[in-house]
Amino acid sequence: MMSYAEAAALAVSHAMERDGNVVVMGEDVGRGGIFGQYKGLQQRFGGDRVIDTPISESTILGAGVGMALAGLRPVVEMRVVDFALCAMDEIVNQAAKNRFMFGGQGRVPMVMRLPIGIWDASAAQHSQSLESWFAHIPGLVVTCPATPQDNYSLLRAALECGDPVIHMEHKTLWMSQGEVEVEQRAALGEARTVRNGRHLTVVSWSRQMQACAQACEELAGTGIEAELLDLRSIWPWDRARVLESSARTGNLLVVHEAVQAVGFGAEVAATAAQETGCRIRRLGAPRIPVGYAPVLEAQSRITAADIAAAARSMLD
């Protein structure tokens, strides 16, 4: 058993052992990262390869682009996705576009770690889930692991794929425990079927998978068999598996922690509607900033009860 944070550190450590061009940089990575997701790496690989940086998001990301063009494979840490907004030019105009706009003369094999999600009363600027922003940008791969195993496997895959990857860990999953088999590799763009069912397909990702699993368990108690899919990769996404399942069950419920409006669930829902004609329901946060006080923050959370209720309403 190991934690989601330990699985991440292990994945980067294995990649660094294997490839001398892998370097890590970001604020506080030397002392292991604020969540322990880089623990032990600087002691092991030295300060030249695990680089503590100033609070310079534009240049952490932009230097990563320059390093990648010059032959390195940087892993850059943004601490929370909200801070990466200071580096949107470097992500969207540089990392994502350089390969194309230079006609394939250079590539940007860089993993950008942009943790998402609501955690511990952190309010409007430390709680967002912005995966759909990055899924919208040609050139980027977007991953959202829900388990320690997937954090390990997706990070390894991200580091090896040669494309710029936005790897979005969830801030309340860092301490979550699970088995990690280092031989188990995940293909980017491949969903995972968490449970099989015939009445309804539930698609989700990241921390929201936990509430979905709980809801599916509750539904099973009342005779509703839900099939639960963890998308894992937001782009590319496993449309074949989602379409096959939703065509079979005839019902698709997409759930995410991000704001529902223009969330990635809309993309999944619209595709399924067009391709399968199944019944569709989306469930995401209301379009409000995440508030600080518990009662305010709760308005942005999607609970297992919400999910179960949405599922029942579809099958009525």
Binding site: P54, S58, T59, G62, V65, G66, Q94, G103, G189, W235
Partner: protein
Amino acid sequence: MLEGSQLAAGLYRTMARIRAFENAAEIASQGGVSAYGSSAGATAKVRGPLHLSTGQEAVPAGVCIHLRPDDYLTSTHRGHGHTLAKGADMGRMMCELFGKATGFNGGKGGSMHIADFSVGMLGANGVVAAGLPIAVGAAHAQKLQKRDAITVCFFGDGAINRGPFLEALNWAQVYGLPVLFVCEDNRWSATTASGPVTAGEGASARAQSLGLPSVQVDGNDVFAVHETAARLVKEVRATKQPLLLHAITYRVKGHVSVDAAAYRDPHELEAALQTDPMARARAHYQAQGGDLALLDAIDAEAAREVAQALAAADAAPWPAAESAFTDIQTTGAGQWR
């Protein structure tokens, strides 16, 4: 006059090639974009915004002569001069401006994204100051890989008012990276004069505030740029520490080629034209006993090269439509919707 004269002719040749290239591109770009009261038409060969460095040629000529092919260079939206001076092929660059398959970027980038990785030119950039973080990253890689090469980062006076300028200089200084920052101070930020919107003494003063040594030079005197850059490049190469060259020059044309710069005081332009770097190089060359006929021959040769580049670009094929779907990403390639 032997060695000095050859050097002078070499510097003049680089400037003449840049000037001739940009003059031709300027003509080919008229009607290429709707802006500044001009409308785009179907006949323009060079389409979209074309940013000319006319009058600034002494800076890339004087700096890049000291660089090796394995040194990196990052550029700006006004990057034709840097690219040619770094050794890129003029014909392929004209093809790229025309949007042809034979251009450096296969027609995917155009003037604003010109790049030639084979000579270490890591790209022009459509975003002001965006090249600075990329340059320090490239230099950081050179340091980590224990390479002997350096990185030269060109940017303009407008860039120093963006955050990445401060971040990148700080980065280069704290990590001790082999970067020569070159501020090509042409006094204009798009269509706004830089002076009134810039506090303090500009690029060199800001660099010094970070402990990063900087030198100011008359950027329209190619010999002064050459001499100063020789010293700075040598020092960056030897010490692996960053330095900044602040070259004062002047943007003779508007922000883009269809911008007549009517907002500018005509006296300012007139005064600037008196210090045109090519005219000054000619005068200097003659004063040193050089034969102007040689420089005339260089001009004629540059004109021939440009004519060939134009003809080649005209004749070259357009990119295949399918190439809009290549060089994007390998993971998920094919999933375009």
